[in-house]
């Protein structure tokens, strides 16, 4: 018998019981929908984490200065005039000597100052670093250039600004070549730098109109020559003096497999140099591993939930089909008497199951695609719709329902036609 006639017959039969068919589909709809929605939320979260970690670079080791409460001084109640902590130039020198397979080191001072251009002013992050920083952060230049090793060498007062800052501070002007002040020191803008997401945009000229980078980047040498290492911060009337030589140090290792060894060396050097642990070591590679592990766990949990919901949907189908079969016993008897083979009866009921599950699956996919969009639109949580999520949810749900449909269909086919005909 031709399949399209089976489909026609099945649709006709299903349309007899619209409410029932709809309720049966609901199980599949919810199953598929929840699986797709969960997967896309999970995928979105995963992507975001991956992106963040990737930006830190899997070959990098990040060392940050951390302020620790100074117990021996603070215990007596008197506040030290200058709080000195964190990474030092000595650390930098020692690390570059003792860490194996080191390709580059990027020292960073992270500061916060008022910046001004003409009468516009705002407070923003100032990053004093070396030219290598651009590479380590994987940032793209939008216009102009990053500062060079020559700028470092001579301590030239140049700066590179983030796209967002360019928009905010230089609206109506071309920032390149302009002079801006950073905490009343004059710097010349030589370039505009984007953040990583921007590299995906291809439109050439007005690229800097997008992007959220609001920092100013200046050569470390220039800053140190001007200001030294004492950082004065005025908060709530009372000033605190902080002496931090480096806020951050990024070590770049040649190969990923050498990172672990380098981390050990780094720990050893820093432990030797510091009495207190006024630093923290962040290894993106480890974070990636952790993220993968978390992801795996998440997948298992998600998979279980999905499996349960799909099985529940399948049981729903089986339940309804069993009811349908027993309700239509007489019809089965008639069809058998008029020449239907067992196979024809099995096919008839399986086709009904298949149509229920496919339509339920399709509706579920539609809702499963809409829900993440609504989530993204209303909560700013990133979601990603992936084809595998669709394919998995759909095929699993259809397979499950067909498997659960086999039993009722077989039961229908194995009925004795004489008994079935007599059935009231």
């Amino acid at each position: 018998m031709r399949p399209e006639r089976m489909v026609k017959l099945a649709v006709k039969n299903l349309s007899q019981y619209k409410l029932r068919a709809g309720l049966t589909m609901l199980g599949i709809i919810f199953g598929v929908c929840s699986v797709v929605a969960m997967l896309s939320v999970g995928e979105g979260a995963n992507l975001e984490i991956q992106e963040k970690i990737q930006r830190m670079g899997s070959q990098n080791i990040l060392i940050r200065s951390v302020k620790v409460p100074s117990d021996e001084d603070g215990g007596r109640g008197g506040r030290p005039l200058i709080a000195a902590y964190g990474l030092t130039y000595e650390d930098e020198a020692d690390l570059s000597r003792f860490v194996p397979n080191l390709v580059a080191k990027t020292p960073i001072k992270r500061l916060r100052y008022d910046v001004r251009f003409k009468e516009r002013r705002l407070q923003t992050d100032v990053v004093a670093t070396t030219p290598w920083y651009l590479r380590v952060q994987n940032y793209r230049m939008v216009r102009g250039r990053f500062f060079s090793s020559a700028d470092m060498e001579f301590g030239t007062p140049v700066c590179v600004i983030g796209t967002r800052l360019a928009r905010m501070l230089f609206a109506g002007f071309d920032p390149i070549g302009q002079t801006m002040t950073i905490d009343s020191e004059a710097y010349t803008v030589v370039g505009i730098v984007g953040d990583i997401a921007q590299s995906e945009l291809t439109v050439s000229n007005e690229l800097w109109l997008e992007g959220e980078n609001q920092a100013v980047y200046i050569p470390l040498r220039t800053y140190v020559q001007k200001r030294g290492d004492l950082f004065i911060q005025l908060s709530e009337g009372s000033g605190t003096f902080e002496k931090i030589e480096l806020h951050e140090l990024i070590l770049t290792i040649d190969e990923q497999e050498n990172v672990v060894q380098a981390v050990d060396a780094t720990r050893r050097v820093l432990r030797e140099n510091h009495k207190k642990e006024d630093y923290s070591i962040i290894v993106p590679l480890e974070l990636i591993r952790q993220a993968r592990e978390t992801r795996r766990l998440f997948n298992i949990v998600l998979g279980s939930i999905a499996a349960i919901s799909l099985i529940v949907g399948g049981i729903g189908i089986m339940n309804i089909m069993l009811a349908t079969v027993s309700e239509r016993t007489r019809e089965i008897g008639i069809r058998r008497a008029l020449g239907a083979r067992r196979r024809d009866i099995v096919l008839q009921f399986l086709m009904e199951t298949l149509i229920l599950s496919i339509s339920g699956g399709v509706i579920g996919l539609v809702f499963g695609a809409i829900i993440p969009m609504v989530i993204t639109a209303s909560t700013n949580v990133k979601t990603v719709l992936t084809f595998p999520a669709f394919a998995v949810a759909f095929t699993v749900s259809v397979t499950v329902s067909v498997v659960f449909g086999i039993y009722p269909a077989r039961r229908a086919a194995l009925m004795d036609p004489i008994d079935a005909l007599r059935h009231e």
Binding site: E331, R335, L338, G339, R342, P417
Partner: protein, 233 residues
Amino acid sequence: MSEPIVELKSAVKEYVNGSLRVTALRGIDLRIDRGEYAVIMGASGSGKSTLLNLLGCLDHLTSGNYLLGGEDISNLTDDELSEIRSRRLGFIFQSYNLIPQLNVLENIEVPLFYQGIPESAARVTAERLAKRMGLSSRLRHKPMELSGGQQQRVAIARSLVCDPLLMLADEPTGNLDSKTGHEILELIDELHAEGKTIVMVTHDDDIAHRAQRVVRFMDGEIISNVWNGEAKA
């Protein structure tokens, strides 16, 4: 008149009902020739329904042979029996047994559906038969919207759709008032006149008079076999 359509040879049918063994047919021999109109009579439990189910290929013999149109079908598989039912047999039931969600034409087409005959060809045949049964104005109606007599006409049309070798009728007038029943019987007479081979189960003597031959059953055995009112061993 000598070509046998149905030949039963020492046909035995036993049912196992729990630990109880019930013998419904005790080795009967029966021959029905082409064009015959035979009525089977007997009290309930006499074995006449069992006989009809066997003739209709809905059941297997416990022992003995059943030849339909010269072909021994005692040992055919379920699928082969299904095929015979769809191609060679026509059923008319007491309770019509139409499929409620299908309309008149679709009900008539069901046996053709299982023969794999294309929809358009089936539709032509179904329309022709429906018209012949006087159902022209009811082609798209569902069984629920028809009277009992009309429903039985649909069932007769359905039984004719495969041009059957043998027509089996199980108390076809049992659910009808006498006037409608009479119309149905006349239709069956008409079919007989056209040369159809008909076997009908009934317990109504008036109906039995119309037939050419009456076979009486009691306790799973044939107790009389009468042609035109005159006995013949």
